[in-house]
């Protein structure tokens, strides 16, 4: 984000140095900071009014905390050597630390527990890719409220948060991580068939061509099912899609979203699978026009808090503050 350095080598003064910030990080200057503060205050107000309390967790956690809860993520964290010898990692998401916090600091508290946060997460970047090493997330975790009621509370809150941030034209894509895998099993693909992981990998990258290729390679699945599975993975729509495909979990959720009057904000996506392995049920992603990337996402993770010693169902979502801000700006520009 630094500009060029036209003074380099021109001055007669002693040599001075300009150093860029690492790729994937940036300085935020006052005008943008003021706007980010304003949006986050509005969003925090929505959370607070809904009974959510803000928490903050350390930027440095023991590697062990990640290993217990999301070991597949250890390939994608910053490790920080410490003189103590017990390895530390930089926070890569807020869900795992808040699961730890809830299970330890709220071990005896009556559920449901409602938390929100505004903090940075850190992820190693690949060279030459426009990835962020560090980004600011605002999000929530609702613990001890099972599906479909907890899912509906979170999605309704998400819609209110996006409106408070200044967005009018957004869509919340909602899927169910169990739906497609259930269809794979119904089509005869065993849970330990190596083709399963290849298929799910293509689904996670939203590569429908790759998905079709991997379905074709799965010998356990017959031709007719291959076509039907590819169609399901690409299917998006409203309640009629859920009825046609018999997506009973999502139908129960849709009943509640209709009760809350936010069914127009939601589009069901039966191929939606989030990358983090801890999701167990409903998952979601947020889209806005003019944004090439989802503004955020989330889902249900009923087994995660239990890893830290207290069984609690859970649902959470996180929004990327920078993308949220840019999407709100783009809408304002469009409205002019």
């Amino acid at each position: 984000m630094n500009g060029p350095n036209p003074t380099a080598g021109r001055s007669s003064a002693p040599p001075r140095e300009t150093v860029p910030v690492p790729t994937g990080t940036r300085d935020v200057l006052p005008e943008e900071m003021a706007e980010l503060r304003e949006i986050s205050a509005r969003v925090a107000g929505v959370f607070t009014d809904a009974g959510y309390g803000e928490v903050s967790t350390p930027s440095l956690e023991f590697e062990e905390t990640v290993r217990i809860a999301a070991p597949d993520y250890l390939d994608n964290v910053y490790r920080v050597p410490d003189a103590d010898g017990r390895p530390l990692v930089l926070r890569f998401d807020s869900t795992v630390p808040i699961a730890r916090l809830a299970a330890t600091r709220y071990r005896e508290a009556d559920p449901p527990l409602r938390f929100f946060y505004l903090q940075h997460v850190y992820r190693p970047v690949e060279p030459k890719r426009a990835q962020s090493r560090q980004f600011l997330q605002i999000g929530m975790e609702l613990l001890g409220e099972a599906a479909p009621q907890g899912d509906a509370e979170a999605i309704e809150l998400l819609a209110r948060v996006l409106e408070a941030a200044g967005l009018t034209d957004f869509r919340i894509a909602v899927g169910d991580v169990g739906f497609f895998t259930g269809r794979l099993e119904a089509a005869g693909l065993a849970e330990d068939d190596p083709a399963r992981n290849s298929i799910l990998h293509e689904l996670q990258s939203r590569d429908l061509v790759g998905l079709r290729r991997e379905l074709d390679r799965a010998n356990a699945i017959n031709d007719g099912d291959r076509g039907r599975l590819a169609d399901v993975a690409a299917a998006r729509g409203g309640r009629e899609l859920l009825e046609r495909e018999g997506a009973s979990h999502l139908l129960a959720l849709d009943d509640r979203l209709r009760g809350a009057g936010i069914e127009d904000r939601v589009i069901y996506d039966l191929g939606l699978v989030r990358q983090l392995s801890y999701y167990t049920g409903t998952v979601l992603e947020v889209y806005a026009p003019h944004s090439g990337f989802p503004l955020g996402g989330g889902g249900r993770y009923d087994d995660l808090v239990g890893c830290f010693g207290r069984d609690l169902t859970a649902f959470g979502f996180a929004l990327n503050m920078e993308r949220l801000h840019l999407a709100a700006l783009a809408e304002q520009e469009g409205a002019r």
Copy 2:
């Protein structure tokens, strides 16, 4: 900050784990978070009203940025290995990054430049010491306003900030890093005499017994000067102290602080030397009753921004948000 784990080994369920947070870090729970947000909003309001704009810098910077500006601090930073191979460090203060930001992003802007920030800094801890690995600082940097005018603006702002945070009973200790070293030179101690570093080291740790010992060991200084130097290092007081000792820089500052009507908030401390090597003039520390540690500190660093390619005089201070909050709470309790 985690409680004990009374459930460990008692449950018949599969073994579950509770993991603490690393020493020197902590979870912040909703009640405290709400109070921290309230204090920081009030302080941010004071900064904004005074024309300061908030900035945010990356948590990860190139090690080179620290090496250019404050190489002595490289022993006290977290290094973060990166796949790129170019070493990263966690932010250990906000002054160096904002100096970098000002020199690069505001290379052509007319001074003075006024910035404030609310962000965490990270410092390795020694085993068995109650040190913080991570703490939240709110602070400011005023660039391009020389002494004494810039010093006075910053100290007046600091007093307003502390009042806005809810403190009534605080003192700002003000010293001058050049005053004591000037006295050492006047007493005959050469700048390259090895005794100089030992003396300054004791002064930095505020160890007056150790200081007297190191003064006695310095052969270049005569007995009378040793006593006078020890007295000066321990001297605290008002304008009369500055007049007696001929502390001309601080007298010029005191004129302005009197003009602003905040001379009662200030106590001059001729032995005050801050640990960071980049300070070049006036330095300060903030004390409140019931707080065993300074709430924060700062000073003038006229040579730092130039390291990044633009010569700008500068003054900054930072407050530890947690200590500020605890000091304000302690005053409230005392007032009940």
